[in-house]
Amino acid sequence: MAAHRCSRPVWLFILCSLSVFVIAGSHDTTVTHEQRAGVVDDPQTAAETAGQTAEQTAAEERQWEATEVREATPDDAAAEKQDTPAPETVVLQSFPQPKDDFQEELVVRPLHSGDIYASFQFRTQWETDFMRGNKVSHYRLFPKSLGQVISKFSVRELHISFTQGYWRTMQWGQPFLPSPPGAELWVWFQDSVTDVDATWKELTNVLSGIFCASLNFIDSTNTVQPSASFKPLGTGNVTDHRFLRYATLPREIVCTENLTPWKKLLPCGSKTGLAVLLKSEKLFHSSFHSQAVHIRPVCQDWQCKTTSWELRQTLNVVFDLHNSGQGKREWSLFKMFSRTLTEACPLASSSKIYIDITDNPEGEQFELSPATSLLSQAVVLGDRRTFSVYDLTQPATFGSVRSLNLLIRWKSNEGHMLRPLLHAERYVAGYGLQTGEIHTLMYNYHPYRSFPVLLLDTVPWYLRLYIHTLTVTSKGKDNQPSYIHYQPSKDRVRPHLLEMLVQLPPNSVTEVTVQFERALLKWTEYTPDPNHGFYVGSSVISALVPSIVAMDTNNTRERPLFSSFFPCKEESSYFVRVYTEPLLVNLPTPDFSMPYNVICLTCTVVAVGYGSLYNLLTRSFQIEEPSPGLAKRIANVIRKMRGVPPL
């Protein structure tokens, strides 16, 4: 198993990429070297499936043993997860490489909870240069709106995701592409940008228009510059986080109005290809919906002589079988998307559907029809998965009915999922409206290995963190973080930023707690629905998790002896990002329904009560004698002269 390693400072994660075993069912011995542009350090996009039992993987191993070829060439070190069957590669090689290229694929994975996970990825690559005053005006596959954004705002990398729902790691395993509930945006700017904040502000407003989302609510109070958690995923080695901006809007609701502009960025729109499946009435009838756009520069070849821009549009959706299927566990493209496939996008160089059949090696779990002879295996997210591949560019795929409607019919409900190794949750503790405590729990389920995680917490200023109360405990003992980056908030200006590198002991729960005080906002700062509460965005946990394949090494019974002597090292770790749930926190809220009463009462009390009472308390009152008459005064003068007391 070959892997690529790059070393970085201690808190930077050593990102590993994956090796791909390419097996074409009919050409057992043909192994294709990837000719396609590779990407170094690509943890996010390399994210494939996790959560497979050790036994099953071991069984897989045996089954595929004969066909495996250990690839030692550096090519596959920078491999993509797409597998290119031999014929296509030959075709591509014989023509001059086009400047731009479009690929589409759909991965379908039956989950152990009985749900169905469908992940669309559309990739447009374009060998061009938006920077250095280069005026790019001729667009073919790459969407012009985004191209202009890249060149105008000198964007190096842009990642934006809109998510409705929360990814249930414990039931569904790790997602291919994690994203937090609501909207998330992070951008690396070119180092030529002078005023990053102004550019960022303008960029969010432009993106807000492009995606019909409330990204214009991103301002300095919810923007942070993480120092370690978000590294560039494309080429370039910039680590100066002055050029990074990260913001989330946990309250953002994602709906059709966000899907339509997203679909418009596709070269074929939603007319042909896989995109015909993206019908909003079905996509939003699901348990989880997430759509994202990632733009980054990638290497064009393995030596990285030339770079090109990659636009990756992804859409992940989890369908709830419990809701849609009336008791019968059956899944088909038509049932989920209310469409079937009839052709690939004509502009796409590759268009494929992958069905994860790892749990179903002998067909005892479910039945897949139409059957395909094309199989593919990949080690992703530390786990070895097997996929059935449907190549939409081949007319044979559609059969005689000229339409492809994949059907999975379950035979048994058996099967359990291996717990994901890393899992996190968060909640607010305490009661009352004065103080509270944020608890972040990080679970390491690995039986014997500890690994470090990087925790990023962004807390709005109106929760005033008492950072001296920060505690990190694992297994009842104090756990000293090896790296802490804390930026205190400024009222109404910027949020708290807390980044920590914490070592998670094996098979443990690590609890991070910090107390906070709830601020009393100014009356104009409350949202229109103040009693709903205020959101605190998800914590981000980035980690290098020991691979599940590596975990198998102590299970020697089904492995050849030569492969299982040395324990696996970092090569067998994989990069995971886990988002916790956002928090909803109630702040002390005045009763807005009676400002009139309050104003009246206050004015009355001040005007009448206070004035008079103050008067009564501070003045001394005396009875004044009425002034005596003239005769009496004269009489008194005479009496005074006589020495007699006056009248």
Binding site: G165, P181, G533
Partner: protein
């Protein structure tokens, strides 16, 4: 105010107030009580109305079909409960999982400060089981709770059955925007307390519980279900929570609206609503309903599992199924539909329930008395204390009466701070003893006397209470010698203001408790001087003391519930009420016991002290 800044008129006013002080006080007292009794008269009260816009009248359609299956599930649950001899945790976990929920358990244990003889428990160990129905496309920020206690014996099995039936039905619906937590808690309130403390990770009562694994964000509202029969004749709504807290009135309105819509008989305090408000019996019915609410609220204890939610700012109520001998029966499907409707409405909430009243009394389910209407009743009682204080103040400020030989009594003009401070400190120390000793001395008492722990605690409390009557004025005499005429006036002035502040604060938090205490303490405080006939006054003062207030309340409550008791039974009930009050404080943090022991009782002792001045 001009009246006061003119010295002549001020003097006239003060003269009037001091001269007519006693009649004015009597009038105020009668007016206060009358006002309070008038609150139950229907024309004086407001009809309830839904304030929360998101829960507008009839936008949801109830379709819950499987009441029969819920009853069957309840029977199955009962069988498993009987087999296990407690909470069938495994069965519940499996059943909830089969219904497509995330299921978690929580273990807890609690050693009571002394054995609870009513419920026969001392070392409590149990397990809560809860399943979370995750709302699709919701980020786990908000949740609703439906809970059913797993009680020993044959009770409440139908509630658990219905809970599981609703869980199954809710799971297949797509419209949920908030997670719904289905909780089956063991050992009723103790289990609920453990779960709530675990959920919010607080520990206010020193209970041991295992941390919760799954959560659903901030809980917006909760309902507790108590059903003990397959069919019911009516549903009763219980609102009174810990320390007299009440849920937002909109929750009661929601229940009432759905009862009306579905056609279920609904009651509050077990009393049906009557339409003949203009007849004497109709009025007395309303008074009974309201007085029951006042008594329950004043007790400060949670009257259902919902009562503990209120501390966490979660609106909650208990719905009790009642099966009486009426003809018209309601089946489980209908109750399920009612709950479905309520949850769909709560699911629609955009904000926490906050639009309607938090302070109210209900003479019937369709009428309520808001804080603005009932507070004057208390104010009229409290003003008596201020009038008496004013009277004393004027007397103290007036020049001392000259004796016949023209020499003013020197010692009278300077009572000194010691003569006030000593009784204050001593009576508060007695209060501290009343608060601490019953729990501290239970082992010693059990060893010395042939009583059980619970009896020991209650009897110690009564003993401390009684001995307090002897203690203060004796000690006072020992320390500062003979009391003076000025001395008791100053002390009474202080005591009156103290009582006024104390009752005022209590009434703001728990109106019923404040009002009931004011009813008895205010007359006692008003009439006491050292110059009234000793034995008669002492008798009256004892009868008006907090302990006797509680005794009367016990008998009165039984009377209101139409379950009158004999004196002996009443006495036993009284003893158990005292032990329950102390337990409520230690188990759930109810504040009535410390309030009475540490503040009200010492305050009453001051007046007792004044009676025996010199």
């Amino acid at each position: 105010m001009g009246l006061l800044s003119d010295p002549n008129r001020r003097r006239a006013l003060i003269n009037l107030l001091t001269r007519l002080n006693a009649p004015i006080c009597v009038v105020c007292y009668i007016a206060g009580v009358t006002w309070f009794m008038g609150l139950a008269f229907e024309p004086f009260t407001l009809r309830t109305y839904m304030s929360e816009n998101a829960m507008g009248s009839t936008m949801v359609e109830e379709r819950f079909p499987s009441g029969e299956r819920a009853v069957a599930t309840g029977r199955e649950f009962a069988a498993h409960k009987k087999k296990v001899g407690g909470m069938p945790v495994e069965w519940l976990v499996k059943t909830m999982q089969a219904r497509g929920m995330e299921v978690y358990t929580q273990r807890f244990s609690r050693t009571l400060p002394f054995p609870d003889e009513d419920k026969e428990r001392y070392l409590v160990k149990g397990t809560n089981v809860y399943g979370i129905l995750r709302a699709p496309r919701a980020p786990r920020t908000e949740a609703l709770v439906l809970s059913a206690p797993c009680t020993p014996g044959d009770n409440n099995n139908q509630a658990v059955g219905l809970l599981l039936g609703l869980a199954q039905y809710f799971r297949n619906q797509v419209y949920w925007a908030k997670d719904i937590i289905f909780l089956v808690n063991e050992h009723d309130l103790i289990g609920m307390q453990a779960w709530l403390e675990g959920y919010h990770h607080t520990n206010t009562t020193g209970m041991d519980w295992s941390p919760l694994q799954g959560r659903g964000g901030s809980i917006q509202a909760a309902l507790t279900l108590e059903l003990s029969s397959d069919v019911v004749t009516s549903l009763d709504l219980v609102l009174e929570g810990l320390n007299g807290q009440l849920p937002n009135l909109d929750l009661a309105n929601l229940f009432y609206a759905f009862c009306q819509k579905i056609g279920v008989l609904c009651t509050i305090q077990g009393k049906l609503q009557r339409n003949d408000w203009d007849s004497v019996s109709g009025y007395s019915h309303a008074v009974q309903t309201m007085m029951l609410m006042v008594m329950k609220q004043a007790s400060g204890r949670p009257w259902g599992d919902h009562g503990l939610f209120l501390r966490y700012h979660i609106e909650a109520a208990t719905i009790k199924g009642i099966n009486s001998f009426r003809q018209y029966k309601t089946d489980t499907t209908t109750i399920g539909r009612l709950l479905e409707g309520m949850y769909r409405k709560l699911n629609n909430l955009l904000e926490r329930l906050h639009q309607s009243y938090f302070f109210y009394l209900m003479p019937s389910l369709s009428h309520f008395v808001s804080i603005g209407y009932y507070m004057p009743a208390f104010g009229l009682l409290a003003v008596i204390l201020l009038l008496r204080a004013l009277d004393l103040w004027v007397q103290l400020a007036a020049p001392p009466p000259r004796t016949e030989d023209g020499v003013a009594d020197v010692e009278q003009s300077s009572p000194g701070p010691l003569s006030v401070l000593t009784p204050l400190v001593i009576s508060h120390l007695t209060g501290v003893a009343l608060y601490m000793l019953p729990i501290q001395f239970q082992e010693m008492a059990v060893a010395q006397f042939p009583v059980s722990e619970t009896e020991a605690v209650v009897l110690t409390a009564i003993a401390v209470y009684t001995s307090g009557l002897a203690l203060p004025h004796n000690t006072n005499r020992l320390l500062s010698g003979e009391g003076t005429e000025q001395g008791w006036r100053v002390l009474k002035l202080v005591a009156l203001l103290y009582l006024a502040v104390l009752l005022g604060c209590t009434a703001l938090i728990n109106f019923s408790l404040g009002f009931i205490l004011a009813l008895t303490l205010v007359p006692a405080a008003a009439f006491v001087t050292p110059h009234v006939p000793k034995f008669l006054s002492a008798f009256i003062l004892v009868v008006l003391s907090p302990a006797f207030t509680l005794l009367f309340s016990v008998f009165f409550f039984q009377e209101l519930q139409e379950m009158p008791v004999s004196f002996l039974d009443g006495w036993l009930l009284y003893l158990s009420v005292i032990s329950q009050g102390i337990l409520d404080h230690f188990l759930y943090g109810s504040l009535v016991y410390p309030l009475i022991a540490l503040l009200v009782y010492p305050c009453w002792l001051l007046f007792w002290n004044i009676l025996f001045w010199k």
